[in-house]
Symmetry: C2
Subunit: 363 residues, 2 copies
């Protein structure tokens, strides 16, 4: 090869490289990053499983294929409630789950999903992103080498399917109900018997009255479970007004990513979480219409005021206990209570007043 | 320079280029894309101005500096209500504005911002993203070589500041109110006198009673206008339950972008729009608390049922006219009405029932 030709190649190649490096300044390198994620859900679980897949697809497309995230479902990794440890240990780079599942291990993780009598979805996102919630969540997760981010919201969950009406606090005595977590503790304080039953057995348990009631999510996910076919009462929600799922990221993985991919990952998680809220809203509206058409006799009920008051009192007592035992718990609960108080006044004069003012318009 | 050295440079340069091109497979090229955007707002306009700036920053960071968007405010380009034309002509690549500003030019743009008695914010996002709204918006904008996307939501807007109470439809007769757009048409049908006044003159006009009332946004943006200092009644909203701003993109610009940057732009617009909804919610909660503290006598009022019914009837009549004049208007309005009917049933048994059930808990 002649000298001139080599010189020409070198010149062109150098030009191309500098053009590229000028424009990719913030990309630390040209590597393809392959991350693994463990989700708490089984394969093909709708909505909850869509959020991480949408996230991974958006991240892949935005990075031009430089950020590849593969997702293992619970039926593969076999540890639906072990996702925290799988990510902490680095066995997986990321997880998709819900913060309150870790309360037995790290009590303060309880507060970052939803709380009985707590904030609605826009109120809670306000707290996360503009009211200090995200930095409190960081405080809880950092000691474990983990980052936690909002992972998609179900919207307001229904209070559950009941075989009999609840007319008084006495009706809660001995009530066998599948209701896990903190809300179960609230009901237990009032004499109910919260039980946990594998999801595949719930239908039969409710049908044969092994249990008197159960809560699942809301029409978005209840329809396929078929509960509306076997229980006449669908109670409105009090215990999970804004259930937010969670993306977990191992801090070492996070640090290894170049700036641009870190921003791509952060944004892909954030947008797919918001999208899951809207998808849940949409599916709930659609599925409730379907249920109501197939079973027009379903009765939507709200717990009477006496029951609501008793549950609220039990809830406040349990929260006061937790706050007194742990300064960080107190800091989180105070932050939430203060935010809720301000935000709820606004909710009441905006969306709620609007909805109230529309009754009877067509008379 | 010696032959070996040149050969070495060529080899290294070629290696680097191929390593980069292997990992940047979906990036059509290494160019830096510099886009311009015209916004309807003046410089330093809070919240509305934050959304496009957040969008541009996220796009810049995610693209590693390959997508640069510079924003010109109205005080620079001098055409706040000319953004549609500025983007259509290609004078700017993008715009940030609101779809209903173009109703005089393209009547069917009216329906993609918010409608009196229409959907709330999560309902409307459901319609945009899962209920066919985005594809109807495409139908309206495509003939003009434009793409339109949601551009940030204000949440439920307040009905406005009034110098006197509205107790009956008669009280609307001759009422001079600053209320632009379609809601102004509704009020005009009932005998009110909608007027338009430049924003800088609104305070004085309301204070000197040149006008009897005005609507602006809600506490998020009303606080700095100072209306709460001079008008005693703050009415709840009916006319803009979910005002969505708009990102406009010139279709030629969109086509020129490589796949990864297009996805980055799409996602940056989507996430910054959701974020503006949450930011508005937060600022409204904060600012309403401030107003109420400084002026505890502000009275929050809802229009009486007779007035709501009259406004609703006038609204329905105006919509029926529009639907009868244009098949695409009919298609959009039918789609919205059908979606609203399903989504509202869900809203009522979820968030609304929840909020209703919390009254009097602490008695």
């Amino acid at each position: 090869m002649k000298l001139q030709n080599l010189a020409k190649i070198a010149a062109v190649a150098t030009l191309t490289v500098s053009a590229l490096s000028a424009s990719y300044t913030m990309a630390a390198d040209g590597k393809v990053y392959r991350l693994t994620m463990a989700e708490t859900w089984n394969a093909n679980f709708p909505i909850f499983g869509d959020a991480p897949r949408n996230m991974a697809r958006i991240a892949d497309e935005m990075s031009g294929g430089r950020l590849k995230i593969t997702i293992d479902s619970a039926n593969k990794h076999k540890a639906p409630l072990g996702v925290f440890d799988l990510v902490r240990s680095g066995q997986y780079d990321m997880g998709h789950s819900a913060s309150y599942y870790w309360k037995g291990k790290v009590p303060n993780t309880l507060y970052f999903t939803t709380m009985p009598f707590g904030m609605t979805t826009p109120e809670q996102y306000g707290w996360f992103y503009y009211g200090g919630g995200q930095s409190l969540m960081n405080k809880v997760y950092e000691p474990f080498g983990l980052l936690s981010f909002p992972g998609g919201n179900t919207g307001n969950q229904m209070g559950g399917w009941f075989q009999k009406e609840i007319n008084s606090v006495e009706d809660l005595q001995g009530l066998k109900m599948r209701i896990p977590g903190f809300a179960g503790e609230v009901l237990a304080k009032l004499g109910a018997k919260p039980t946990n039953i594998a999801s595949g057995e719930l239908f039969t348990a409710l049908e044969r009255r092994t249990i008197d009631a159960l809560e699942w999510v809301g029409p978005s996910l209840d329809l396929r479970m078929g509960f509306h076919k076997i229980a006449p009462y669908y109670y409105t929600g009090w215990h999970e007004p804004a259930t937010e799922l969670q993306f977990l990221v191992n801090a070492r993985t996070w640090k290894k990513l170049p700036d641009d991919l870190r921003e791509i990952l952060r944004t892909a998680m954030r947008v797919s979480s918001y999208d899951m809220y809207i998808q849940s809203y949409h599916e709930s509206a659609e599925n409730w219409a379907t249920m109501k058409q197939e079973f027009p006799d379903i009765q939507v009920k709200t717990f009477p005021e006496s029951v609501m008051k008793a549950m609220y009192k039990a809830n406040q007592e349990l929260l006061a206990e937790k706050a007194s035992e742990d300064p960080l718990a107190k800091e989180i609960l105070d932050s939430q209570a203060e935010y809720l108080a301000k935000a709820r006044v606004w909710t009441n004069i905006s969306d709620r007043a609007y909805l109230d003012s529309l009754d009877n318009l067509e008379d």
